[in-house]
């Protein structure tokens, strides 16, 4: 009986050791591309609706808090409706790939805006449209360059180099947590200079997974920063077919949150 117990214990121990060894080997073999892919997966909410706020600095030196409701389907379609401050309440944007439409309740007009380019600033913020894309790192060849502690967590340090001139930046360095592949910080480079720093310091649990809650983007060239924060987020939302359509903009703008 005692021998049997010992054998069972030894088997459990051996199994554990094998699992740990396999994990270590796998961890050691992970590539920079895999790390950044997993980090990107973590940023993809699927079908979701959320409330968020963005704090920008105006040219007059004031801080301005803009609150918005965002709904998204996959990575290519989203709708953003401002609800605070009152003077822009109901202004709604529809993003489908690179195309943008807007609806202004004060004028009652739907406008097709100029198509956004990747490195164009998003609504005067320090973020570019590309920074908010869930495929933000697709234009880069990524490699793992080491492990480093960042914001108190053990992280993979990966480096990305632009594959072509189409990329928004020449390159980046990113820190991704070792355990659950959360992106914590990204330094963006252009012409050999660090031009932007994105940090994600707070996370919230969405469907059992930690997702970014507060994202800060510092623009070092303009000495400006924008803070984007999710107030709440709900995933797995079913939108009716053709919901993300310019014909719906007015209705969405007037609908209650």
């Amino acid at each position: 009986m005692k021998i049997a117990k010992k054998i069972i214990n030894l088997s459990i121990l051996a199994a554990l050791m094998i699992i740990i060894a396999v994990s270590i080997v796998n961890a050691a073999n992970i590539t920079g591309q895999e790390i950044i892919d997993k980090a990107e997966d973590n940023m993809d909410y699927g079908n979701y609706q959320s409330q968020a706020q963005m704090t920008i600095h105006t040219t007059g030196g004031d801080k301005r808090e803009l609150k918005m409701e965002i709904r998204g389907e996959g990575t290519e379609k989203s709708i953003m409706k401002y609800y605070e401050p009152a003077r822009i309440e109901g202004v709604t944007f529809l993003f489908i790939k690179d195309d943008i439409w807007s609806f202004f309740p004060r004028t009652g007009r739907v406008r097709h805006l100029a198509a956004s380019t990747k490195n164009q600033k998003m609504m005067g913020s320090s973020f570019s449209y590309d920074d908010f894309s869930s495929e933000a790192f697709e234009d880069y060849s990524v490699k793992l360059i080491g492990n480093e502690k960042m914001l108190g967590e053990e992280c993979y340090k990966v480096e990305g180099q632009a594959k072509s001139d189409e990329a928004a930046y020449d390159g980046f360095t990113a820190w991704v947590t070792e355990g659950d592949f959360r992106l914590l910080k990204v330094n963006y480079f252009k012409a050999g200079e660090k031009i932007k720093v994105m940090t994600i310091e707070t996370f919230m649990k969405v469907n059992g997974k930690l997702r970014p809650k507060k994202i800060t983007m510092k623009d070092l060239n303009e000495d400006n920063q924008t803070v984007f924060e999710y107030i709440e987020i709900e995933t797995g939302v079913n939108f009716r077919p053709n919901y993300f359509n310019k014909r719906n903009l007015e209705r969405i703008s007037k609908s209650q949150l």
Partner: protein, 884 residues
């Protein structure tokens, strides 16, 4: 050799004291006369590194471009009539003898006549589109088409064009007010002409983001480096503005610019340095009187000090010719350093007299026993200062020379004058000689020796903590943290940066041909840190660009000739187009609000209003819809618009290339050098450059400009170059001074161990000082960092005197410290008093220098008292001490 020298000096003083005094008096008079020729050059220019292109370029610009160094006047009016407030100020200021010209609006006629040639090809289509129809409804339709084509809700497009857009929208606002008034009043043709010009060229004023402040420039008849005229000139302009404010209580003006700041700096430094010198001298005398418990001797001690400073100023006048912002404080600093020599002589003399030595023996004792220590101390301190002359920074070289010469002059004056005065005074009148020892200092030294291991451990802990704190010290670079506190000119400068989102401290460079001027301006204005580039090519593009634009203008010129005739206004059509305009502007305003482009938001709000609070355009539309107008007046207005628009837009037809001769005088004087050979360009940073000068923003702005134009100049450049150079050179200077001193100490003591031990208290004091200036939130700047080489030069004396006395004395350590400790305590207190007096300065950098020196010198004494006894004892009593 040294002993013989001091013996000879003592004999000469005893034999011919009065002759020595007469000779020194004559030398003093001659050098005093020389010192009257000293120039006070209290500007930042003199502080730039030797041979740095920014310095030569600045002088070239000041000499060749009268408009380069202009003053800025901010104009406000409680009643909102900024135009009148600016106009009245300009008219009054131009009457002053110190003012050459005042500018507060762009040259509308030139822009109207040649505007089409000044537009970049990309924008040319936009402006020509709105010229196609001179009828009011047609014009508004074309304007709507333009807005809908160009700003399809694209906030980036608005941000890129924001300056042009704000100017145009302000022009539109002015015109709409005129249109609104036309419904009930007759509009004169001149008024219509003004309104149409603003539609075509935009708002002619440089207005703040909120539109509540105008900026005007004053070109004085004197330069910013013309020190003699700064005070009366700037004073007269400031006085005139105050007079207008009194006459028109709603008006408010602010004055700033290089001249004004230079005037304020000059007044501040002169006041601060004089006050610091007087307070320092009084404090030093009080300390000496209290220490020696006699009146006359301390006063006598001050005589060679003052004489030495006069000699130094005379020599400075001969060899350097000027005092700069920093060296103007050398007299105050020399008091603290130079009085030490007198204190040592006085201490030696009173000590000798207390031992009942005769007068002659006392002179011999003083010079032969105390003299060598003073000589070594003075030579090491002077050597430390002279080491600064290898620096590439002009002001450090001057500081090194003036302080080095000052130390040697005072030392010589002390050796020659003080023993002679003491000898004469004691010979004529017997005095009560006080005790020359401070036993408490001896006791502390003895205690430190006894408990040396715990004492050294505690010192080590303090040093580690201080070093840790020291690593967090802030190094200020912004002139807001360096200049005198509370200066009105700096406040106005700050105000401009906040209100106009633009730094008025322009960075300047010159170019010698239009093509290069154009290329550089285009490259620089695309940089993210740049708000505006002011270059002559805004008014006179290079020939190839003009030719290219002229080709595109052929069709425009033809269009201008084929425009439709006057059409009777269809009111419904007009209302439709006005509503469309309102919608376009609402959308542009909302996009700008979401993007934080406040200047656009402010003007669109004014035109379209907000829900519940209609703007001028909404009111105009409402009146038309409600038919609250007289048809004839509206017809007259529309017809008058057609005439004026046809005439003024017709002027925009371009036939030939522009040349320099076509430029009006105001533009020429703004950009072209006096000899016509080169052009002046000004670059204005976005926002408040001084608040961000050390951040990547400031650093990239400066380095980007220096890379593109190596000779770029201006205060921000000087400060950044100074910062880069000072950061590099102070470390080198500290290292060089330390090595020089160590070598001198080695030659003096003939022992590495003693040289090193004499040096240890100094290193410890520097470390504690770094820690304390962080803890006290004093921090550092490009001036106060110089306290460190100074502390080395000054603080080394304490250790030198102690070890020197330990070596020659046969008394136990406690007694030696009681005796020499008194002298070094007094010298420390006097030095602290004189440097401490710098703390009264309004000049923040000088205040910081005072605090740093005060702490540094105090800790040199404290560390000497604690560390040296713990590590060393007097050779002659070594066995006895060890046994004890």
């Amino acid at each position: 050799m040294r002993d013989k020298l001091f013996n000879y000096l003592a004999n000469t003083i005893i034999k011919k004291p009065k002759t020595i005094l007469i000779i020194t008096a004559l030398v003093t008079i001659v050098l005093l006369l020389f010192s009257f020729n000293l120039n006070l050059e209290l500007s930042w220019v003199g502080l730039a590194p030797k041979g740095d292109p920014s310095q030569t370029e600045f002088r070239k610009i000041v000499d060749n471009y009268p408009s380069a160094s202009k003053m800025y006047v901010t104009v406000e009016d409680k009643g909102g009539d900024l135009e009148s407030a600016a106009k009245i100020a300009a008219e009054n200021l131009e009457k002053l003898q110190y003012v050459k010209r005042v500018d507060y609006r762009v040259n509308m006629d030139y822009l109207l006549d040649n505007g089409l040639l000044l537009y970049e090809s990309d924008n040319l289509n936009n402006i020509t589109d709105i010229l196609k129809n001179p009828n009011l409804t047609g014009f508004i339709t074309n304007l709507n088409d333009l807005y809908e084509k160009e700003y399809k809700g694209n906030s980036s497009g608005i941000e890129d064009d924001k300056q042009e857009m704000v100017r145009t929208l302000r022009g539109l606002d002015y015109f709409l007010q005129l249109a609104d008034r036309s419904l009930t009043q007759n509009i004169k043709s001149e008024e219509m002409d003004k309104g149409v010009k603003r539609l075509l060229v935009g708002d002619p004023y440089l207005s703040s983001i909120k539109g509540d402040t105008l900026l005007m420039t004053v070109q004085p008849t004197f330069g910013a480096l013309d020190y003699n005229k700064l005070k009366p000139g700037v004073g007269a302009i400031a006085e005139e503005l105050k007079k207008i404010e009194k006459e028109y209580p709603g008006f408010k003006y602010g004055l700033t610019g290089m001249h004004v700041i230079a005037r304020d700096e000059m007044e501040s430094t002169t006041r601060d340095s004089t006050l610091a010198m007087i307070i320092g001298l009084i404090l030093v005398l009080i300390i000496l009187i209290a220490a020696f418990k006699m009146w006359l001797s301390p006063l006598l001690a001050a005589v060679p000090l003052i004489v030495g400073i006069i000699w130094d100023m005379g020599l400075t006048s001969i060899f350097i010719g000027r005092l700069n912002i920093f060296t103007v404080f050398t007299a105050a600093m020399l008091i603290g350093l130079g009085i030490d020599f007198s204190v040592h002589i006085l201490s030696g003399f009173t000590e000798a007299r207390s031992k009942d030595y005769s007068l002659e023996d006392s002179v011999h004792f003083t010079l032969e026993k105390v003299g060598p220590g003073i000589l070594t101390g003075a030579l090491t301190t002077a050597a430390a200062f002279f080491t600064l002359t290898i620096s590439s920074l002009g002001f450090l070289v001057e500081l090194g020379l003036i302080m080095g010469m000052g130390i040697l002059s005072i030392m010589l004056a002390v050796f020659l004058i003080l023993p002679a005065l003491l000898f004469l005074r004691d010979g004529s009148k017997s005095s009560t000689v006080k005790k020359g020892n401070y036993p408490v200092i001896g006791k502390i030294a003895g205690w430190s020796r006894k408990w040396r291991y715990p004492v050294l451990a505690i010192v080590l802990l303090i040093l580690i903590f201080s070093a840790w704190q020291g690593t967090m010290v802030d190094f200020y670079l912004s002139i807001k943290k360096i200049e005198p506190e509370g200066l009105e000119s700096i406040k106005v400068m700050d105000d401009i940066a906040d209100k106009f989102n633009m730094s008025n401290d322009a960075v300047l460079y010159t170019t010698d041909n239009l093509k290069k001027t154009y290329q550089l301006a285009e490259e620089i204005k695309d940089q993210p840190q740049v708000e505006r580039v002011s270059a002559i090519t805004e008014y006179l593009p290079p020939s190839d660009i003009q030719q290219q634009r002229l080709k595109n203008l052929t069709a425009v010129n033809q269009m201008l000739k084929r425009r439709p005739g006057y059409q009777k206004t269809d009111i419904n059509n007009l209302i439709t187009q006005l509503k469309r305009l309102e919608n376009n502007l609402i959308e542009i305003g909302q996009l700008s609000y979401m993007s934080g482009i406040d200047e656009v938001v402010n003007v669109t709000d004014k035109i379209t209003g907000l829900p519940g609070n209609p703007g001028i355009l909404s009111n105009f539309i409402s009146k038309l819809e409600a038919e609250k107008y007289q048809q004839q007046k509206l017809n007259d207005f529309v017809s008058s618009f057609y005439d004026s628009f046809s005439e003024n837009s017709g002027k925009m037809e371009i036939k030939s290339e522009l040349t320099v001769n076509d430029l009006p005088a105001d533009i020429k004087s703004q950009f072209i050098s006096a000899d016509g050979s080169s052009y002046l360009n000004s670059v204005y940073a976005k926002g408040n450059l001084w608040d961000r000068i050390k951040k990547p923003f400031g650093s990239r702005f400066i380095h980007m400009l220096r890379e593109k134009v190596p000779r770029v100049t201006g205060t921000p450049i000087f400060m950044r170059v100074l910062y880069d150079q000072v950061s590099k050179e102070v470390t080198e200077a500290v290292f060089l001074i330390a090595v020089t001193l160590l070598l001198l100490l080695f030659f003096h003591f003939r022992s590495f161990k003693e040289a090193f031990i004499a040096f240890l208290p100094l290193i410890s004091a520097l470390t504690v000082t770094m820690g304390l200036i962080k803890i006290l939130n004093v921090n550092l700047d490009i001036f106060s960092v110089l306290a460190f080489p100074l502390i080395i030069g000054i603080g080394i004396d304490d250790g030198v005197h102690v070890i020197h006395r330990l070596n020659i004395s046969d008394q136990d350590m406690q007694t030696v410290f009681s005796s020499v400790g008194r002298a070094i305590l007094l010298t420390t207190l006097t030095t602290m008093a004189s440097f401490g007096s710098l703390m009264i300065a309004q000049y923040q950098a000088i205040y910081r220098l005072g605090v740093t020196l005060f702490i540094g010198v105090a800790f040199c004494f404290i560390m000497t008292l604690i560390i040296i006894p713990a590590l060393l004892t007097n050779k002659n009593k070594i066995n006895e001490s060890e046994e004890n």
